[in-house]
Amino acid sequence: MSGEHDHGHDHGHDHGPSSPELRAEALESLLAEKGLVDPSRIDDIVHRYEHDVGPMNGARVVARAWVDPEYRSRLLTDANAAIEEIGIDGAQIERLVVRENEPGVHNVVVCTLCSCYPWAVLGLPPSWYKDFAYRSRVVREPRAVLREMGLELEPETEVRVWDSSAEVRYLVLPERPAGTADLDEKALADLVSRDSMIGVARVAPPSPSDV
């Protein structure tokens, strides 16, 4: 890579005028000076997404849908109303759509054009979701990508990929694992992984030590 393009995010020790550190600081300081941005609000937003918003929200939605068939049905028809019903602020998602995995049908979510992701229920996306390999490949060879990521699907299972190309955001409702009949909603939510709600994993059954 030539020097003039050598400003990737791995170069955390470069603090020259073109470093991302200084570019970000210059922006923040100018916008603050002009009264357009309040730096303390940046702290608020970052804190919110580092601590309060994350896949635990989506996991609560999934667990509720597993234990309450009427909730599940509301979730599949009007997901925005259903997440607000359990106290999740869905303001950042103008239209949330939940796709249910079932025997013979597996759903998986991507955004090929950028990295659209349902922040309110899953928090900020993992790096692999934003990277070029996942974005380019999962629409073309989802079975191969899922296999690489550790999810082997039966050949007869239909794979439905959802490319979030507009303002609709998708959440996968994974299948409830066997051996969880005795678990309450809270224990079920603890089983639900972020990756299962993107559609690149199954929800693993509880390990024997948890039961």
């Binding site: 890579m1 393009h5 400003h7 995010h9 955390g12 005028p17 073109s18 991302p20 550190e21 200084l22 570019r23 970000a24 600081e25 210059a26 922006l27 923040e28 300081s29 100018l30 603050a32 000076e33 009264g35 357009l36 941005v37 309040d38 730096p39 940046i42 608020d44 937003i45 970052v46 303001a91 103008e94 239209r95 090929t112 950028c114 900020l124 993992p126 790096s127 692999w128 990277d131 070029f132 974005r135 380019s136 490949r137 629409v139 073309r140 989802p142 079975r143 191969a144 990508v145 690489e148 050949p155 299972t157 794979v159 439905r160 990929v161 959802w162 490319d163 190309s165 507009a166 303002e167």
Partner: protein
């Protein structure tokens, strides 16, 4: 635009790499940029379509090497300069001053008015009925606009089926360019793997893409 960002179906990016116990941000500046973008849009400096288009217009090499928040940083700079909030020269002067040890951000008096965080709503009520119906076969137009579009290359000229009629939203192709909102219906359109990728498609695979009405034509029914 037929840019580097439109990655669906491209070869050559290798395996999906997962990062073990990944932090939400990898550096302090990424946190600042994350907050800055949210506040910039909340302050009405540009809109989310302008933001996305600013990223698409990056030099392809920069797009590929800047990282996710590096792309955001570039886009916030574009929103600020292209909407007349600050000039590129002002930004550069500030960077140089900071590099030479100028005092960092002066603590600004916290504004008494706190606008809601995040983007402004893009959903709109329209009075026209949707042009297409559930289950209808549609053709994604084979068009190659030089500006912003959310019609990915890999579905252009391909036939699919409407599986969902969403509410109407602002049309990104005009909204990114200050040409008005032109709100219109949005459809979930499902394409068979074989329609997209030919005989090499994996069996039993489909891809659904959310497409605006202006991206679609009806499929003529023969006979």
């Amino acid at each position: 635009m037929d840019g580097i960002h439109d990655l669906g179906g491209m070869h050559g990016f290798g395996p999906v790499r997962r990062e073990a116990s990944e932090p939400k941000f990898h550096a302090r500046w990424e946190r600042r940029v994350f907050g800055l973008l949210n506040l910039t849009l909340a302050a009405g400096i540009g809109n989310v379509d302008q933001f996305r288009h600013a990223i698409e217009r990056m030099e392809p090499v920069d797009y590929l090497t800047a990282g996710y928040y590096g792309r955001w940083l570039h886009a916030v700079e574009s929103l600020v300069t292209e909407n007349g909030v600050a000039t590129a020269a002002e930004l550069e002067a500030r960077r140089i001053a900071l590099a030479q040890g100028a005092a960092s951000i002066s603590s600004s008096p916290s504004s008494p008015m706190k606008p809601p965080l995040g983007r402004r709503p893009m959903r709109r009520a329209v009075t026209v009925a949707p042009r297409f119906e559930l289950g209808e076969r549609v053709l994604a137009r084979n068009v190659h606009p030089a500006g912003h579009t959310r019609l990915p290359r890999y579905v252009r000229g391909k036939r699919g089926v409407v599986v969902e009629i969403h509410p109407a939203f602002v049309f990104p192709d005009t909204n990114a360019h200050g040409q008005g909102e032109r709100p219109q219906h949005l459809y979930g359109v499902r394409f068979d793997g074989a329609e997209l990728w030919g005989p090499d498609a994996e069996p039993g695979v489909s891809v659904a893409v959310d497409l605006f009405e202006d991206y679609l034509d009806p499929v003529e029914v023969a006979g």
